[in-house]
Symmetry: C2
Subunit: 120 residues, 2 copies
């Protein structure tokens, strides 16, 4: 598949895909004329990258992760970084839940028919 098709399949923009390649996060074959060509496995890879980006991992760290993934091994320092990221994500997730709950509470108090509840 070409880059436009991969973009549609993943939700990433064409620019984003070129950026990922520029950062070393994905690879591509090239046609005789220089156009990028991807196998079907690229879809999953890009989706995974986007999940990690959404989780706040910078592309440098995702690059480490990719090496671990392909090599099946990591240096102790890299491993430390990855574990730190995992813990950060974990804390972030639980913090987000409490934030959502508080936000929900504020919304409830701002909802018109909450006047009754407050009046009580």
């Amino acid at each position: 598949m070409r880059i436009g098709e991969l973009a549609k399949a993943t939700g990433a923009s064409v620019r984003a895909l070129r950026y990922y390649e520029e950062q070393g996060l994905i690879d591509s074959d090239r046609s005789a004329s220089g156009q990028r060509l991807y196998g079907p496995a690229a879809v999953e890879k890009v989706l995974w990258i986007r999940q990690l980006l959404a989780a706040g991992l910078p592309s440098r760290v995702i690059l480490k992760l990719k090496k671990c993934d392909t090599d099946g091994k990591a240096s102790p320092e890299e491993l430390t970084v990855l574990e730190a990221e995992r813990d950060r994500i974990d804390k972030l997730a639980t913090d987000l839940i409490t934030t959502r709950d508080r936000l929900d509470h504020v919304i409830a108090n701002s909802t018109p028919d909450a006047a009754k509840a407050r009046a009580h």
Copy 2:
């Protein structure tokens, strides 16, 4: 308390606190010479703001939220925005959990003593 003390109490930098004020997220009294003075309640307010920022809410949205909080009511459109943010946070949190799990899996496979497991 003055701005430096509030910074230490909240973990925010002095610059960040001035930025929050600039965006209308917090208020401050001023001393005769123009220095910012805060009541003890400011600590909680700032911590809440930081939670929301960490959750990815832009300051514009946090400003809406502040108005709802002080007024105890919101316009329907504002309410829609806030509910959308809540849902976004909710989805983000669950996505983060699955991302962490996948990341954990990769880490396990990259750990030296995982060779045994793979060899099996």
